[in-house]
């Protein structure tokens, strides 16, 4: 196996709350292998978006890495200054976001924003950059790139806007694309088209993709591997097929059950309660209060283990919860 493009090693993040640091992500160990699509799944508040933003050095104010290491293309990111981060962004690691309306600058044409992404990294002529932007628009499935190039974001549909966003993110042919729920704001048919487009581009450009979603269904169709996060930590990482066929962590099972298509009249199957705030994380297993079968050993905090079945898991009782 070649070297991972992004590697979290016991990585943790925290927020400055004045007197101390409140942990938001803890003990994260995850490798993103070249060419794969890794789905990062969890409910809101699980820390998945913050983990993703770390890969571009775009953490919100007051949020900082607290420990561990995050390597980007083999380099320790803690050594990066502002200018080094800027050179990484867009050129090596790029990102697309949830809402394509607010994520594009409304005052500039779509084309000029793609050109700007090129010229942030290269001293190309305006004309050459424009040619590349047009080519990229065509590549993301926009049929009339010359017309769309001069369009303002509000003149395009949600799907076209998201395609333009993808074009701007990929125009520098980055090694890694971080996709933070890019289809959540779109309607279902557009969603499928965008997902298909990203998979196609991933193969054409040989990219690695970190796809963040709260929607297991989307991830099941797309990802090679899935990492499940709960309350600031990874709880299970496995190949997509294995994870869906034989989930080990009770939280993963709960997620799969609540996403399952049910027949009429069958009751909804959901995990009761909600993700705890970082300040109320239990000392022991963070999922125990919502777990269907916690035992006394769950008062302890489980470590990440590598079971024989492959992947990794953070649970004292793998596979134990009963699927209803």
């Amino acid at each position: 196996m070649s070297a991972p493009v992004i590697e979290f090693k016991n990585f943790s993040l925290g927020r400055d709350i004045g007197t101390s640091w409140e942990p938001l992500v803890t003990d994260m160990t995850l490798q993103l292998q070249p060419g794969e699509i890794l789905g990062l799944v969890g409910e809101s508040g699980s820390g998945k978006s913050l983990s993703a933003l770390s890969c571009l050095g775009l953490l919100p104010a007051k949020v900082r890495p607290l420990g561990g290491q995050l390597n980007i293309l083999g380099r320790d990111s803690s050594t990066f200054g502002d200018e080094e981060w800027r050179e990484v962004r867009g050129a090596q690691v790029s990102m697309i976001f949830q809402d394509p309306m607010t994520s594009l600058d409304p005052c500039f044409t779509v084309g000029s924003q793609i050109v700007e992404a090129i010229r942030a990294h290269e001293d190309t002529s305006a004309k050459e950059a424009q040619g590349r932007a047009l080519e990229m628009l065509r590549l993301v499935g926009i049929t009339d790139p010359e017309q769309r190039f001069g369009a303002f974001p509000h003149e395009l549909s949600g799907g076209l806007r998201q395609r333009a966003m993808i074009a701007a993110a990929l125009v520098m042919k980055p090694t890694v694309l971080v996709a933070d729920e890019p289809t959540t704001a779109l309607d279902v048919t557009t969603q499928a088209a965008i997902i298909e487009q990203v998979v196609q581009l991933q193969q054409q450009l040989g990219m690695t993709v970190l796809w963040i979603s709260h929607d297991l269904g989307v991830v099941a169709n797309l990802a090679d591997r899935v990492a499940v996060m709960y309350a600031g930590e990874l709880v299970e990482v496995a190949d997509t097929k294995r994870l869906f066929a034989d989930p080990q962590h009770p939280y993963t099972m709960g997620l799969i059950n609540s996403a399952r298509v049910r027949s009429a009249g069958e009751p909804f199957d959901f995990i009761s309660g909600s993700v705890p705030e970082p300040s109320t994380w239990p000392e022991g297993c963070r999922f125990a209060p919502r777990c269907s079968r916690p035992t006394s050993v769950c008062q302890e905090h489980p470590a990440m283990t590598q079971p024989d079945s492959g992947g990794s898991l953070r649970c004292f009782h793998p596979g134990m919860a009963v699927v209803s």
């Binding site: 962004r89 867009g90 600058d105 409304p106 924003q113 701007a168």
Partner: protein, 311 residues
């Protein structure tokens, strides 16, 4: 392009309505022009009649209006009822003084307000931001005639630094312009600061950073451009307010503008002078709001797509 034509057509329509209103208001006002010049008790009726004839006051009202407009469009605003000089000559100088003063204040307010707002927003929470917040609150809560008296007392009388009255030289412009600019400057600074702070937190700034665009470029190209919309709309509204205040401040500083003339003309029921001045003020306001709307359209592509006429 068709929007520009539509917007200008709209401005002309408003001017037409304004001319109807100024014409009507002055005709409807109690006391006719004739009775204010001549004492009806002591003037023979035929003299009154001759005056009425001469002023066109016997014609049907619509014809009076048509005559009035035909003259106005030729730059002929009639003659003053009192000193018998052409109104145009009478108000040209005063109008120029007023426009110079209002324009100086406007340039001060925006030229200093926009950069101050941007700098405060980029360093929010810092010392500059705090000083700005303090100074703008002070300026906005002090009525401008009080500020005028303060400045006159300190800069003019105590320090003998600046002339406080009249219009004998360019230095005379400084104090009234400062007094006039204080309030719009504060408002401009605050609106700019708020708009920039809002745009700094907008999602697109994060997207641009994710593509490797530098913070400086994002701030000065994208954030500033997006923050401009509220600032431009404020500008066109402020021209109206500023004109109103100019007329007051002129009196305090004995600045020979239209302010005192307008009051005089209304008090003496000098119709031609008063209506010419009112029409002139309306024209300035309509031009300001037309230019403001066209600028807004140039700045914000979302407005450009929406073809509705915005007044």
């Amino acid at each position: 392009m068709s929007y520009v034509i539509k917007r200008i057509g709209y401005a002309i329509l408003i001017m037409f309505l304004a001319s109807l209103v100024t014409f009507a208001a002055l005709r409807v006002a109690p006391g006719s022009a004739v009775t204010s010049i001549l004492d009806p008790a002591r003037t023979p009726p035929e003299v009154i009649e001759r005056y009425k004839e001469e002023l066109g006051l016997n014609l049907p009202i619509w014809q009076q209006y048509v005559n009035y407009m035909a003259n106005v469009l030729r730059g002929n605003f009639g003659t003053s009822l009192f000193d018998r000089r052409p109104v145009f000559d009478l108000i040209a100088d005063a109008a120029l003084y007023t426009v110079v003063l209002a324009f100086a204040a406007f340039v001060l307010a925006f030229g200093l307000g926009v950069p101050a707002g941007v700098i405060a927003a980029l360093n929010r929470g810092g010392w500059f931001d705090r000083v700005i917040r303090w100074v703008t609150s002070a300026f906005m809560s002090i009525p401008n005639f009080v500020l005028a008296l303060l400045l006159v007392a300190i800069l003019g009388v105590k320090l003998r630094f600046l002339p406080v009255s009249g219009a004998s030289g360019p230095a005379n412009l400084i104090l009234p312009a400062l007094v006039l600019a204080a309030d719009p400057w504060s408002l401009t600074t605050r609106v700019t600061r708020t708009a920039v702070v809002e745009q700094l937190g907008a999602d697109y700034t994060r997207t641009l950073r994710a593509r490797g665009v530098s913070r400086t470029r994002i701030n000065w190209r994208h954030v500033l451009r997006n923050a401009l919309t509220p600032v431009v709309s404020l500008g066109s509204v402020q021209i109206r307010t500023l004109l109103g205040y100019t007329l007051i401040v002129e009196v305090i500083f004995r600045w020979p503008g239209m302010g005192s003339q307008l009051v005089q003309a209304i008090l003496k029921r000098d119709y031609p002078v008063a209506s010419a001045l009112a029409l002139l003020l309306a024209l300035v306001v309509v031009i300001a709001s037309t230019v403001g709307d066209l600028l807004l359209r140039a700045v914000d592509p979302r407005i450009r797509s929406n073809q509705a006429v915005i007044s």
